[in-house]
Symmetry: C2
Subunit: 126 residues, 2 copies
Amino acid sequence: MKKADCKISDAEWIVMKVLWEEAPLTSAKIVEAVGSNKNWSPKTIHSLISRLVKKGALGVNKETPLYEYYPLVDKRDCILDETRSFIHKVYDGSIHLMLANFIKEEKISEKEIEELERLLNKKNNK
Amino acid sequence: MKKADCKISDAEWIVMKVLWEEAPLTSAKIVEAVGSNKNWSPKTIHSLISRLVKKGALGVNKETPLYEYYPLVDKRDCILDETRSFIHKVYDGSIHLMLANFIKEEKISEKEIEELERLLNKKNNK
DNA sequence: TAAATTGGATTACACTTGTAGGACGGTGGG
DNA sequence: CCCACCGTCCTACAAGTGTAATCCAATTTA
């Protein structure tokens, strides 16, 4: 699981999330898992899988009769990357600005607020 | 200032941020403002400006000898859009998951933590 | 005033992305 | 045993992006 430069596009993320949830999977399984929330032709999903393999984000086990695919990049790393580039683009890199804006703009339930407060507290005491 | 579908690319965001900061500006001014943090040819910046005009994200005042450009889309709306699509891609739309992850992963100073707590509090009491 | 620079419009060009389709060979059902 | 369908690999193709260059007219500069 390398960090690598995982440049994963929007559509590809959907496939990756499936594999991060459960792996290895055959392409049929992936198609099935994705199918529920996206209306793509299986061909499209195959394309995405191939691209991800070529990019080095997915690995393939060719021993099995039907190839099995599994992630080669770490989900956490990809999330961090994606997050950083988002924050950089929109907030000029200011995490603080971003969090503040979020808390202000988005509707969060009271329970969630309490949990976030708890998290902040834990962080503060560390 | 319409909300419109502001599909602004990474590079274009840099230009928009300049104009949201101060407008209207001539292209020379924009080039100058961008120049400091990006190493683009002025030509590149002109291209971006034109695209933004074509997209309807920027307006032009052609009365002045040198055209003056200004935003037609609201910054806040664009941020919200961008944010939503980020959260949807990475966190399946869960704002809460996202905030929690942030607080966990990123290094935030103690002062910032306190301010965030203050914000959360205000939100909670509202 | 002639030359050099700049601004705006148009064009360029390779790469990525979304979204498949076609060819070919293996597998499963009748 | 033969055919239809699925998985793989390759190809396609238009739109969007990053990153300019060209052409022409206006403007600044020597």
